[in-house]
Amino acid sequence: MAGDRPARFSYRGRSVRADPGETVLGAIARRGVPVVARSNRYRRPRGPFCGVGQCTGCLVRVNGVPGTRACRHVPLEGDRVEDERGWPSARFDLLGAIDLLFPGGFDSLRGLRRPAFLTPVYQWGVRRLLGVGALPEAAPPARPPVTVIAPKVVVVGGGRSGRAVAQALRTEGLRPLVLERALGPLALEGADGRPATSATFLPRPAGGRFTMLGFTEPDRGVALRTRAVVIATGSYDAGLLFGGNDRPGVLTAEGALSLVGPGRRPPFRRAVVVGGGGRVRDVLDRCGDAVAAVVAPSEIRPEVVRRASELDVPLYPRSLVLRAAGRSGVRRLYLRTRRRGPTFSLACDAVVLAHRRLPHTQLFFQAGARLDWSDARGAYFPVVDDAGATTVPGLYAIGSVAGDAAPGVRPEDLAHALAARRPVGPPRTAASGPVAEIVGYYRELLGERRRGRWMACPCEDVLLREIEEAVAAGYRGVEVTKRYTGLGTGLCQGRYCVPDALLVLSLLEGRPPPAVGYITQRPPVHPMPLASLAELDGALPSEAEA
């Protein structure tokens, strides 16, 4: 079993040691934020960003398997870890010159059309540039067949809310199965748990039954049939648009905290933390001595001010983040005080994004549950009743994914309603309040002069400028923008680009975000190996029987 004891793996000609349970990324990020990968179009250096296996920042090849997320692979002794892209390495990539050769960006829609006789040459080159990992050297070994699991209730997410609801369901005499994406053991009482397991596809139920697909890391397929699903997937730290927002060293709070641990220093010494709320506190609490400043898009909450002053960390409320400068890392962050205030800059070696959390709502979209736009949060949330029941019978939401109307859905109420098969009640009124601060922030930001690359979609290297051009050319709505620019078609499935693109499009198109639309949440919501899907074939009843 991986992770019981230390392991040595090879990486760039060295032998690297990982502590028990430590991931490849953890082991290579001990002395600083590493450049692990190269971006899609411009070959820009990329490093860890999300920390939870959702972005393209740390893709490596492990034992010949491409697309392995270094942040989710706990190495075994002797593992062979290699760069996917980069010549000679991801760290020093001669092709990185492309980034300098195309300062205005590269127009894949209209570019390289002429002369026509060079078409095959262009295509040859571009194809080699864009491809990520080489075809695996071998087929994965054959495995024993899987069987469909049919628990009474499935809880997706084993965080605080997921565990609490599992406990409450137990009290109602139901034994739930809890799926948790995080690696490492999952402590549950009276419930079955599957750690390292991602739910990837939850179609609309048929005949009152849900079919759910997923997989356990690295590639074991999981198929479930059940009558009730509780989604407690929580939320994640959002991205932010600014120049050089894709540089290694720009991390989400989750990404940064995943690299901090007991007896483990963060891979930075002077981070600028962006945000003014509770998430900034988490960062200050866990690596406060490595924080150089806190910069907030708007106000800073008193408890953060208190904590920062204890740590002697300077605060810059009401600031626009304009640009992270550096080459293969961040050296300086350029800012401007809101409302046309002065520009200033801060020396730093990392930028930690802790300004906004977004719910993991993909499965609700897939299952056909109604979601409503919340102006106050600038995001979509499932419509739920007092017990967390969504508009799809049998599908429930709890925790931060269910919105932030206080008081939150109580686990006992949910468990009781679920056990009693209580019909869905009237919807809770959503949290109301002023329009999310981030809207005003972007309105002001879009008027700023831009330097550096503003990556609207870091997975696919789509620039903010390309989105503006699409709008200027008369294309409207996020679905069309996605098809026009490629925004949201990368590995993160739109998690780090679409929420902000919605706000930007709403401003550019001059209509509210719900009118801009939303992109279909295509399965699988976490990329899933073909072998783990293939081994589920035949195990599920055919659609006709469902």
């Binding site: 829609l109 295509q123 194809r127 695996p136 699988p524 990329p527």
Partner: protein, 387 residues
């Protein structure tokens, strides 16, 4: 939104690639004011969901000619329309798993080569050379034409849309065609969600919804919408050049410019309704099994996303192009199944000619709307399955 005019020379229902090309060609011919109605967003139909495969290997000469003409148009697209389709001509390879299929491919091969296209029949070794990592025994032979290829469909939609508009075509997005106005036996207008317009010609280019629209107009047609699903993996370095199609069931896959393996197949006949098209677990698991069966080394490669769309299928698998003999002024441009994109440039021209009353040079027994009205003749040749 109100419509820009109250009267048009022709109204095209459906703003997919077929409707847009038709409108573009009508405008180029100076036909007069043209309106395109699209009830969703641009590219919301099959034209924004397909695999971009373009082939000329067909079993009838008429289709081969349409396909060849379209290949030429797509090669020139960058010059004519200003968008790069990344049309990569690296071949279509049909795989035969049995002697029966090989014989079928041979029949098609004869028609294709008689038309002057240098298609080649391959043995198992020749196939293996074109598809690195192909499982042993996956094919006993195949047929290959190097000038077939794959393109990105979206820029084609943008290019033709912009060109049509710059020629004065009105494209009304988010506007639905609700029904026809008929006086006597002739079309006189169309009712839309934004009011009525007068016109003597309505083109039904509604893709998967064309059957529904014809029926709304009171015409019985055999078109059925069939759900077709497709998936894309994470990006790999280029290793596969041709589009590969399994002749037995039409399952296909290719590697895009970005490196993704994109592949799909038709999952039974699930007649579709409505604009939303969901994916199904059965497709994902079945396609994954088939794909890893053909290319076992793909096993640890991850599926990035799956989606689906509607084929507009006809009983004989050929499209319907031309005026409906039962209702003068009602012109069909539908029934393209899984091949509308690869035929669109040439098909659009023929539809425009049909609207203008010029000869289309299409065999009515293969393409004409009247062919379903006469007693069924034998199918011309067995069709090559392709998703």
């Amino acid at each position: 939104m109100t419509l820009p005019r109250s009267s048009y020379r022709a109204v095209v229902v459906g703003g997919g690639i077929i409707g847009l090309y038709t409108a573009y060609d009508l405008a180029r011919a100076g036909a007069g004011p043209i309106l395109v109605l699209e009830r969703g967003f641009l590219s919301s139909g099959a034209s924004g969901r397909n695999g971009g495969g373009v082939r000329q290997q067909w079993e009838t000469r008429g289709t081969i000619r349409l396909a060849r003409e379209s290949v030429e148009a797509y090669r020139r697209f960058g010059r004519d329309f200003g968008y790069n389709l990344w049309f990569r001509q690296s071949g279509y390879l049909f795989l035969a798993e049995s002697e029966v299929e090989l014989a079928r491919l041979r029949t098609v091969h004869d028609v294709v080569t008689a038309e002057g296209l240098p298609a080649r029949l391959l043995d198992a070794g020749g196939v293996a050379e074109l598809v690195p990592g192909l499982a042993p025994g996956a094919a006993i032979g195949g047929s290959y034409l190097a000038s077939d290829g794959v393109l990105y469909p979206f820029p084609a939609v943008w290019g033709v849309y912009e060109a049509a508009r710059s020629l004065g075509v009105d494209v009304a997005l988010g506007v639905e065609a609700l029904g026809l106005r008929v006086e006597g036996t002739r079309v006189t207008g169309l009712v839309t969600s934004e009011g009525a317009v007068a016109t003597t010609t309505v083109v039904n280019a509604a893709g998967g919804w064309s059957g529904e629209f014809s029926r709304r107009a009171g015409l019985e047609v055999p078109n059925v919408a069939t759900r077709h699903e497709i998936l894309a993996t994470e990006s790999l370095k280029p290793f596969l050049d041709p589009m590969v199609v399994r002749a037995s069931d039409g399952l296909y896959f290719s590697q895009t410019m970005r490196g993704e393996i994109v592949g799909g197949r038709t999952v039974g006949h699930a007649p579709g309704v409505g604009p939303g098209v969901p994916s199904s677990p059965g497709f994902l698991t079945g396609m994954a099994r088939a794909l890893t069966g053909l290319l076992p080394r793909l096993g640890s490669v991850r599926v990035l996303r799956a989606w689906s769309g509607y084929y507009d299928d006809t009983p004989d698998g050929f499209p319907v192009i031309g005026e409906d003999p039962r209702l003068p002024g009602f012109v069909h441009a539908n029934g393209f199944g899984g091949h509308g994109f690869m035929l669109a440039p040439a098909a659009g021209r023929r539809v425009a000619r049909a609207v203008l009353g010029e000869p289309t040079e299409l065999d009515p027994a293969v393409f004409g709307p009247g062919r379903f009205l006469v007693a069924r003749r034998d199918a011309p040749a067995e069709r090559l399955g392709l998703g």
